[in-house]
């Protein structure tokens, strides 16, 4: 445990010195602002389109509600998440390439400690970033529209967090196999693509991890939290399997 703590501190230093934390923070903050801003500006944009009177179309703007802003919340989340995955895709592989893990392992630091410290850091960054993102959107939404009509908000938020955690654990799993950052990205992308592909089958769609990103149905009250049970169980099992699978594969990884 103490050894893992030491390695974790090294990871922390890297996070701060390479300005990774700053980039992730600014990204989540900006995309957090973007959601409510888009919702707020939509009527203005539609009005401008209507004024042009070139098309001859009459466009009537519907009133923007808090739901429009929450739609943006789930839509915009993709980009900061992809950026985190890209940034961390080389967290392990750069160290393999430069051979910087070899001295640590020969001095007695176990591979499990290395893996655990790196994964802990990744999950921490994702969780804190997501919390901040949610905080920003929640703040603006209650300021502009009020969050009263939103159902099961915290369940929806939690489900989406689990989906992100699943993606992060995939980064760990593929980092224990792959040789380069591109391979890690390819692996995570392939799993995501597979989920989307299988999701075309209507019977399977509500059992996949991608189901968890559909927080809007919960917030609108179309679905109840119970509808997500199977998806949550499957995602949790897959997340744990990927995490422990990565730890096991890490033992045999050529450093």
């Amino acid at each position: 445990m103490r050894r893992m703590g030491a390695f974790f501190r090294k990871e922390m230093m890297e996070l701060l010195r390479r300005k990774k934390l700053m980039i992730v923070g600014i990204l989540f903050l900006l995309f957090g602002i973007l959601g409510p801003a888009t919702a707020k500006l939509t009527p203005e944009i539609i009005k401008m389109l209507g004024d042009s009177s070139v098309s001859g179309l009459t466009i009537t703007a519907e009133d923007v509600t808090v739901m429009d802003s929450w739609i943006q919340f789930f839509k915009n989340l993709d980009i900061p998440m992809i950026v985190i995955i890209i940034m961390w895709s080389s967290a392990f592989t750069t160290e393999y390439r430069q051979g910087t893990l070899i001295p640590l392992v020969t001095k007695g630091l176990s591979r499990t400690d290395i893996y655990a410290a790196k994964m802990l850091m990744l999950h921490l960054v994702w969780t804190l970033g997501y919390l901040m993102y949610f905080g920003v959107v929640y703040g603006y939404n209650s300021y502009y529209w009020g969050n009263d009509g939103v159902k099961h908000m915290f369940v929806a938020i939690l489900l989406n967090w689990l989906y992100g955690a699943f993606m992060m654990s995939l980064v760990g799993l593929f980092s224990a196999i792959a040789e380069s950052g591109a391979q890690v990205m390819l692996g995570v992308g392939a799993v995501w693509f597979l989920c989307t592909l299988v999701g075309i089958v209507p019977k399977l769609a509500d059992k996949l991890p991608t189901m968890l990103t559909d927080g809007m149905s919960l917030m609108r009250g179309v679905k109840s939290p119970g509808d997500y049970t199977i998806a949550v169980v499957i995602t949790a099992v897959l997340t744990l399997a990927a995490t422990f699978g990565g730890a096991v594969l890490m033992q045999r990884k050529k450093l």
Partner: protein
């Protein structure tokens, strides 16, 4: 847009402006305290950062100019 509408948007605008200037300040300090860049010269990067201060300049510098320490 009249003044009332702009007031309505202020809570959205202020953080965006603040982040913009923080980034600009950080990038300007970084440019002028480092001797070499991936490509380009100090004068060029100063001009790009200031002309494109609405996020474009700093992001360009991070992508194309800033050397890994």
């Amino acid at each position: 847009m009249n003044l009332d509408q702009i007031k309505d948007y202020l809570p959205l605008l202020i953080p965006i402006v603040v982040i913009q200037f923080i980034l600009l300040a950080y990038v300007l300090v970084h440019i002028n305290t480092h001797k070499s860049y991936k490509r380009g010269t100090r004068t060029m990067w100063n001009i790009i950062a200031i002309v494109g201060m609405n996020y474009v300049g700093p992001i360009l510098y991070f992508l194309l100019g800033k050397e890994e320490d």
